[in-house]
Symmetry: C2
Subunit: 418 residues, 2 copies
Amino acid sequence: MTTQEILHAARQARPALRCADRAKKDAALLAMAGAMWEQRAQILEANAQDLEAARGRIGDVMLDRLALDEERIAGMAEGVRQVAALPDPVGQTLRTVERPNGLLIRKVSVPMGVVAIIYESRPNVTSDAAALALKSGNVCVLRGGKEAFRSANAIVAALRTGLERVELPRELVNLIQDTSRASAMELMTANGLVDLLIPRGGAGLIRACVENATVPCIETGTGICHVYVDGKANLEMALDIIGNAKTSRPSVCNAEEVCLVHSAVADKFLPMLKKRLVEDRAAAGQQTVELRLDKRAARIIDGIPAGEQDFDTEFLDYILAVGVVDSLEEAAAHISAHSTGHSDAIVTADADAAAYFTAMVDSAAVYWNASTRFTDGGEFGLGCEIGISTQRLHPRGPMGLEELCSYKYVISGNGQIR
Amino acid sequence: MTTQEILHAARQARPALRCADRAKKDAALLAMAGAMWEQRAQILEANAQDLEAARGRIGDVMLDRLALDEERIAGMAEGVRQVAALPDPVGQTLRTVERPNGLLIRKVSVPMGVVAIIYESRPNVTSDAAALALKSGNVCVLRGGKEAFRSANAIVAALRTGLERVELPRELVNLIQDTSRASAMELMTANGLVDLLIPRGGAGLIRACVENATVPCIETGTGICHVYVDGKANLEMALDIIGNAKTSRPSVCNAEEVCLVHSAVADKFLPMLKKRLVEDRAAAGQQTVELRLDKRAARIIDGIPAGEQDFDTEFLDYILAVGVVDSLEEAAAHISAHSTGHSDAIVTADADAAAYFTAMVDSAAVYWNASTRFTDGGEFGLGCEIGISTQRLHPRGPMGLEELCSYKYVISGNGQIR
């Protein structure tokens, strides 16, 4: 089917989920998980073909992301079952107002409609996204990367088997059959057919979506996250937080990229930081962190002088830009100017400083004495996550099931006119 | 100043409102209202120049919309004072979660940041929009139509006098000095400078924004609103509702454009409808409604045969498309296919039919036994309105102060790492 045909079929399928209650949706999810496991041989065969075609064309890290085995398929099925266990976000009464004229106005959560997701080569995104969309009452249109195309088709075939077993239309879960740029552009401009577009991937994909999408689109993911070590910080705590935020998983969007240190503690703290991120890690045989220092930091410790772009770069690597500031206000102003609005943290024992920082730093998540790595749907208690929005128009921050819903007003009267 | 200079100045001004509490913002609003009234002579002089320049180039209705007098300025000032009386939407704790690891996660309402509003020739929009933006903590960048440019400048000068009196920066309220299409395009693509774009105006403006905007943009306003008269409708109530929805103000977006009638009552109801909308109005000397009938309706009453586009047109005029359907399901399916998702209504005494209709019709506002004309911030109890969103990505429906806010997560810990 062409992309347009798939989009029209997806649109036609919407009413099936509008009537489905929680029991029906959960039954579908369990059937989808079961069918995925039953069809693991077909999925692994398709995945082997994907791997064969990709070998030599993508790096080892990417190949590992692409590769499936029985354990990973079991994990994907378990992920779908966990979504079934989450509460139903649809049909919740968010507010009720009775107006003086007797009109009863209820604000009720409803699905977005057709949600399109453009992603890259991880096969598990296919089942994760389909499960989250279904639970939130949305029809999903998935457009994965070409490296994982055969795997994604086999996974979607299994998910559709599950849908058929509970007598829901196959067209609730759709995979675009064209992995060229043209199909991504078609999704971005499918006004009237796509209600929400979520790009999941690198900065290039997200920029392309923001620049070209005429359908409502969520800007996700890019994180230039800061940790500011205040003059009144517990320095040991600051070390632990930065060690975690920078090195526990440098390739993710909630990892720290910039450390700002108050000048009152810089002489003491920066040597501690260098010991923790460079010397201790070298001694332990771990990958060391490359420190890129502004002029003031460079007077205190050794490191690479920071270049012009180093305070505006999402390194996603063992690299940390380090600067010295003279005040809380300067730190907040720097972060306002350079942050991508994802996650930023202050380490301080001073509650007033924390209150100022959390008020003035306008990022999706602002931390006081905790690691930026917690910005995540699971860690926030949402139970799941389809992405992290860095825009201000809702949703913002980690997106779980509720964030995949819209709302509508249902108004009951007895003949009121205006 | 150029548009870019204004946008950068607006961005710089944001922190002034992030720290402003309700008392400060309300004081500013009262000072703005006072200054507008004090500077009424300058505003009227500017308005006279606008009127002089526009005469002969725009129609009488538009000229009337453009014209100011003391009474209208007093009304505008009163509108600003009313916004001061509304609750502060910023800084509300929307949800609090304590996680098992001790992290306290608060979801808090915050301003969007810089809100750009593109509108047409009504001068009162200038002060209304500025007041709503300020109360919601947003810096506004206004771009009005060229016919009202001198008036808007005089109004903004007065509003800025008010801001200065309470020692807030003038740059919280900004007017773009270029009324060409180029400046509108600059706002639509000012990524990183504009956090939200709201177009207020005709279908052409809204389409241009949806197609060209790369900043987050709200699709507002277009309303092809339906009233469905069910087989179990109270027909007198249906007549009252349709009379109101179609004729009380045909030029607005929540006016009815399409009437669907169940075949079980069509023989009885359509002659009643024709009497109410055509014969009674003619007898009363009122503008009559032109009925555009599908084939089945045309077998029952006289009228103009509906053309291909008549069930997909926002007439904004004394014109009503009328069709006959055989079932509730057919009515809901027709509305799903043809509605713009603004406001749709069912008239029925059957609660099950109403429940089905309000579940299946996915519009921003779905009415049971009331007129579509109630879709309005004031009528919904929001106290005000800056527009009506017809998209599903939030906000949806009437936008008041809360809908001009985003949220962020403020997370407090004691050194948690992941």
